[in-house]
């Protein structure tokens, strides 16, 4: 095999070829893109639901009054609904900014966009034939398509053009920016841009959710994979590229083709470009999303974990009126022990008695339960990642005993410092930092200064 040249257009497949190809999965979407897609979908759902209900004036109104009233009742007041609309919108802007900044080279660089959304001649022909075929006015075969077909490209172009307009005009309206005249224009531009996206969105949703031939495209947004047969039939150009990369890979490492098996239409060896093997590797299948996110032994990227921690902190402020903490919990545990061992001393100490209220254990408090929860959370996370192990974390040059002594010494310094500062890295640094408390930032300055300074002195013990 592998003697025929590369087919220019899809050739008819034998039944057994088609059968085998339908079994093989090709990776179509990266997890990040799928998450972004569904995040975006949720945002559009929420924003359209509230946005259309917010437009109440006879002049601009698009939805019937019963809908507007229903939504208003749902949110309690129109002001709440507007705040929700703005909050979701801002979250959307922030997420897309992060995507744009960190994903620029991967997703938004010119050559990648050019390939994913620029229309070529095949695409224009595809559009007209597609329309005719839906109307059953033509039997002409569809021209081969890239990883996104011409319709998807058109929609992407529309969305890429409109999203910045929606975001900027939204921010202008939300915060009454620039001037009254600008806000006045922002209103109509916001409506127009959203309206145009909605017109495309209707087709997008219809194609994805209702149109039978594109079902695999819908599922690829959930699993990240499409069957090779679908890729072959609907995205032939893209299929060809993937195949060529695979071929190049096997060619380089096994001295010939073979992994593509019987079922794939043959590819000419002359068509094999020199592709780096890692790239082909990247196209290969990957474990499920849950496994990858929660079961992988890799730590999460710090920014992702940071956002999670930040949202937890925000929720804590909203629910409890204070931030997260740790040293306060340790203090309460200690007071509970002291009160049990030496009640008279504890109750009459000017310091410990601060933590004791008559008739209540010092353990009945937010912090003590929170730290207990933190240990549970840490345990679950470590268990999922396979990190549960009785071990000692130490530098390579020191003995365990040295490490134990250092741990206790460090703990004493930390405990003393935390009480003196009235909080630790979490309770003062993180929580105080988020409410911009002056002392918290001074404290953090001290922590980092001592940390970086002490690191030099401690290098023998850690490196």
């Amino acid at each position: 095999m592998a003697t025929q040249p590369l087919p220019i257009a899809p050739v008819p497949l034998t039944v057994e070829q088609a059968e085998a190809m339908s079994q093989r999965q090709i990776k179509k979407h990266h997890v990040a893109i799928m998450l972004l897609h569904w995040f975006n979908a949720a945002v559009w759902l929420f924003e359209l639901a509230t946005g259309t209900a917010l437009i109440a004036s006879p002049y601009f109104r698009v939805m019937p009054y019963w809908y507007i009233n229903m939504m208003t009742t749902l949110f309690g007041s129109r002001a709440n609904m507007l705040h929700f609309h703005i909050a979701v919108g801002i979250l959307w802007v922030v997420v897309f900014l992060v995507y744009g900044i960190f994903g620029f080279r991967t997703y938004l660089a010119r050559q990648i966009l050019g390939k994913e959304i620029a229309l070529d001649r095949d695409d224009f022909r595809w559009l007209s034939i597609r329309a005719l075929r839906i109307l059953k006015k033509s039997d002409e075969p569809l021209p081969p398509q890239d990883s996104y077909n011409a319709g998807q490209k058109l929609f992407a172009l529309l969305v890429y053009a409109m999203i910045p307009i929606i975001m900027i005009t939204g921010l202008i309206m939300a915060f009454h920016l620039v001037s009254t005249a600008v806000v006045g224009w922002a209103v109509v531009l916001h409506f127009t841009a959203v309206g145009l996206v909605v017109s495309g969105l209707m087709i997008h949703v219809y194609m994805g959710a209702v149109f039978p031939e594109e079902k695999p495209a819908f599922f690829s947004m959930i699993t990240g994979m499409v069957s090779e047969l679908y890729a072959y039939r609907h995205h032939f150009k893209w299929w060809k590229e993937v195949k060529m990369q695979e071929e190049a890979w096997t060619h380089q490492f096994q001295g010939g083709s073979g992994s593509t098996g019987v079922a794939s239409p043959p590819l000419g060896e002359s068509a094999i470009p020199s592709v780096a093997p890692e790239k082909a590797e990247a196209k290969r299948g990957s474990p499920g999303m849950f496994r990858r996110i929660f079961r992988s032994p890799e730590y999460w990227p710090p920014y992702v974990a940071g956002v999670g921690l930040g949202l937890t902190l925000l929720a804590t402020f909203v629910l409890m009126g204070q931030g997260l903490g740790a040293s306060g919990a340790f203090t309460r545990y200690l007071v509970a022990i002291l009160a049990w061992v030496a009640p008279h001393y504890t109750f009459h100490s000017s310091y410990w008695s601060n933590y004791i209220q008559p008739g209540q254990s010092p353990l009945i408090a937010f912090l003590t339960f929170e730290i207990f929860g933190a240990m549970l959370g840490g345990f679950v996370s470590g268990w999922l990642a396979g990190r549960l192990r009785i071990t000692v974390d130490k530098g390579p040059r020191i003995s365990r005993r040295t490490r134990y002594a250092l741990a206790i010494a460090g703990g004493i310094l930390t405990g003393y410092g935390a009480r003196l500062a009235r909080g630790c890295t979490s309770g003062l640094g993180l929580s105080g930092g988020a409410v911009l408390a002056f002392g918290a930032w001074v404290f953090m300055l001290g922590v980092f200064a001592a940390g970086f300074g002490g690191a030099w002195l401690m290098r023998r013990y850690w490196l």
Binding site: L54, Y59, L82, M173, S199, V210, S227
Partner: protein, 243 residues
């Protein structure tokens, strides 16, 4: 239900601006703006038949307000007692209502960046107090009350003494600030400060003429297109992509 109105007795008004000051301090109106302001007409007529009077600019709480329709968010609304309110939580400061008001009673408050205007001192009225301007009027020229209460001052002035609304044949939206006085005084005020037709911001004009048809056309076309496709799908049956 009440139907609130205000009457200015031009026979008594001396144009002292005490009402303006009271209103500005009551509602923290930024310098250079006013919810109510007294405009002198200047002197008209020929000696010895000279006429001079005052126009009180403020929200008229019209029966058919021109400011509600263009407000995109519904921040401007009219309660059943006729008072036109602005919900500050909803206002985005777009200025459509400012442009629409035939009496130029609205302004964009530069501090809060939202529309603002007279609300007949609704928070005071709720507590049973008179509006600040009425209370403070040095000449007792301003009256506030319920037109559906036959014993109120305003009822008598409007229905028995013939107080008039500032309307023209072009702009007749039922303002609820009335003027009482000698016919030549009232005529002079009406001639000097006629209401203008409700205006629309250029942005709104463009929306109505070009953008709205564009959006509706696009949505309509795609809807039609996929409706046709969907009926075809129903008619010929689904040919599911075979795996």
């Amino acid at each position: 239900m009440a139907r609130y109105a205000m009457v200015t007795d031009l026979r008594k008004c001396v144009g002292c601006q005490a009402c303006t000051v009271a209103c500005n301090s009551e509602w923290a109106v930024p310098t250079g703006f006013a919810r109510t302001h007294v405009h002198p007409t200047g002197v008209a007529g020929t000696f010895p038949h000279l006429v001079s009077s005052f126009y009180i600019a403020q929200c008229n709480h019209c029966d058919h307000p021109a400011c509600i329709e263009p407000c995109p968010t519904g921040a401007t609304y009219q309660s059943a007692d006729g008072i036109v309110h602005i919900d500050r939580d909803l206002c985005i400061g777009c200025g459509y209502c400012v442009e629409a008001c035939p009496y130029d009673a609205r302004y964009i408050n530069p501090v809060i960046k939202k529309a603002d205007k007279c609300d007949f001192c609704w928070p005071r009225v709720q507590k049973g107090l008179e509006p600040a301007c009425v209370l403070t009027c040095t000449a007792h020229a301003k009256f506030f009350g319920d037109l559906e209460d036959q014993n109120s001052d305003v009822f008598k002035m409007v229905y028995e003494q013939g107080a008039r609304r500032l309307e023209t044949s072009e702009v007749s939206i039922g303002p609820n600030v009335y003027y009482l006085g000698k016919k030549e005084d009232v005529d002079l005020v009406f001639a000097s400060f006629p209401p203008h037709r409700p205006r629309l911001l250029r942005a709104g004009e463009v929306w109505r003429r070009y953008l709205r048809p564009l959006v509706l056309g696009a949505i309509g076309a795609t809807f039609l297109g996929q409706a046709i496709a969907f009926f075809h799908q129903l008619r010929v049956g689904e040919d599911e992509f075979e795996e």
